[in-house]
Subunit: 213 residues, 4 copies
């Protein structure tokens, strides 16, 4: 279920202690903040540690190297995100397609909007390392759960579900990123959200093989 992280990229020890969890959380938060305030180029392990209120040494007790920090950060948030999407998909199993799409777009949008700083920080961190693996893992996971949901729609079926699914996810994920990077006024942002739902629905209407209008 979870992404398959190469051993050398996962945190050195699993947070069992409460303090350890707190420290880990502090390091993640600090990473986000540094990423946001100083940018990925000015992010140094020392700066992250300072901002997290720990020493570099401590940071390196949790992450064997800088890459691992980024990896874990992405893993952390993407797994949470995938979880939310999975929940939403399960909750809408067998429902009409309209509800499914609305739920999917809204879940994703809200998850990303909840902590816009985190979202923006993660988008910025992507280029830093081969997060490609985590991202690919996330993509496959989500692919599977949304495809399963769409396949169960009560009022529609699709000749080429794979393509429809890939298209929808590409459009949703891509659009959200675009909007985040343009960082438009809130009203406009919300408007685009609405339009995105509408767009997905119109599209599904055009491509569905069976089911009433």
């Amino acid at each position: 279920m979870a992404v398959n992280p190469p051993a050398h990229l996962s945190p050195r020890k699993k947070p069992i202690q409460a303090r350890a969890t707190a420290t880990l959380e502090a390091i993640f938060e600090a990473t986000i903040q540094v990423l946001l305030v100083d940018g990925p180029r000015r992010l140094t392990t020392t700066r992250v540690a300072e901002r997290a209120g720990v020493s570099v040494g401590t940071l390196y007790q949790y992450f064997p190297h800088k890459q691992a920090l980024f990896y874990a950060l992405n893993e952390h948030y993407l797994e949470a995100l995938a979880g939310k999407i999975e929940d939403a998909c399960r909750a809408h199993h067998g429902r009409p397609i309209r509800q499914m799409v609305e739920a999917l777009v809204t879940t994703y949008w809200q998850a990303k909007t909840e902590r816009p700083d985190v979202t923006r920080a993660l988008y910025r961190s992507v280029a830093e390392i081969d997060n490609e693996q985590v991202i690919e893992g996330f993509a496959h996971h989500v692919d599977a759960v949304t495809a399963a949901m769409f396949a169960s729609a009560s009022d529609a079926a699709f000749t080429d579900l794979q393509t429809v699914n890939l298209t929808l996810l590409s459009v949703i994920f891509g659009t959200v990123r675009s909007v985040f990077e343009r960082n438009p006024p809130d009203a406009q942002s919300r408007a685009v959200h609405g339009q995105l739902v509408l767009m997905c629905l119109s599209y599904l209407n055009s491509v569905r093989a069976v089911g009433g209008q």
Copy 2:
């Protein structure tokens, strides 16, 4: 029409000499290659210069610092891209909305697909600096020309053209990026392209205020 670069980010001199232009082009190419082969983290000015067949000193004759190189690179390709979009928009002034959308998506898609390495390299370079400025400039530029085109549609009008325009551009740009980053097999990639056109058309159909089907 061109982006307004802060003085400290623009190339030291405009390439008037043919030789200078060739060198510049070589440096841009080298940057792309290094970005692709070694990744943004391993990109050093020395490596770029080597690959371009010049000395570091020469590179610094053209760009006052590394940032400026990235800035110029993005400017270079985004201006070309904006130009293509502008041409397409002008060519479809007053045409039916369907043709406009098809032209817009296809122009953008093709421009990005023409040199996929460049596209991917640029996506990767984004985190490097405040390219945000160049990108914002590009966005505004394109916003203007597509909005003007849509406003001239022979068979449709929109109550909220701004939102429709922003939505379409966000969707198109975002989706293309998503697809590039997932790097799916060519056939699938092309399929999504087709679906994207379809999606935009369905959407416009739903939101247009006037004009028959």
Copy 3:
């Protein structure tokens, strides 16, 4: 008779408890092993402690710092070695010179060969600190006991006993080290041992002032 260690280099407490002695022994063993397996550069206090089955904290209960560990390790083995040599010398007091030399070379060689790993590890640790002091102390100690022995030879006397003594010890200690560092096949190693005895005897024959062959 024991080396005079500068206060800051000696173990914090003398091991009176049996448990303490066991721990100390374990730490020494661990140090040897780490020295051999990982080399002196990769030897960290943490690694030594781990290998000894104790915590770093415990290690620091026995040794105020890393230097002290090395110091004590050398002291430990060199004192044992000096003791063996002293015993041998005492046992050959008043005997013919031939027996003395044979005993000396053989005692030293065997002591070093008994645990070749320890020997090699100690040779490697030398560069680590001013073990010079321990080594010098060891040298003086041995100088004295062998000089005393040679002076008592039943069949020989030397005009310059000091020089003869220094020469013999330099040759024996140095040759053994050379052989250990070249690490030749066992047979060859044993052969050199025999030759070394022969050489020392020939030498003493040439330089003795009195006493028939």
Copy 4:
């Protein structure tokens, strides 16, 4: 003839320029001095560079890493030493064994004594890295040339030349090291030198298979 250094351990570029050679020499000298004054543990690349009057960056233009510096240093001096020994051996080809031994011991002793600081520094640097390769190479080289010399002796032959050769070299190299590490007064040192020649001669006398007394 020369040691086979793993690619990553040899200097980055061969010193062709006069300035480069000077810099290289300065770095070697600085390494020796730092080794002597601060000891191998306090030797940092920065300190070496400072002492050599260059920047760390420059040091790293000549040596890809610290290990390579040590490697090259040992190579440098051991090759010179091997050269001297080779010359001496060639010069005494076919001579009586007595002259050979005298020449060998004296050549080695003088080479080591010429710059006692260098000698001592090198002995200290040995433990630092796997100089074993360079040293082994040196040993094989010398083995060959001395064996060849001894085989040509006009007045002696040996049943087991290999063992005799190995013994002599072990004794000579080891004794010199011992003496250097004890650092006795000059007079004593010179005395031991004489005794060493004497010892080797007595030994050869005992083991030679043919030839006059």
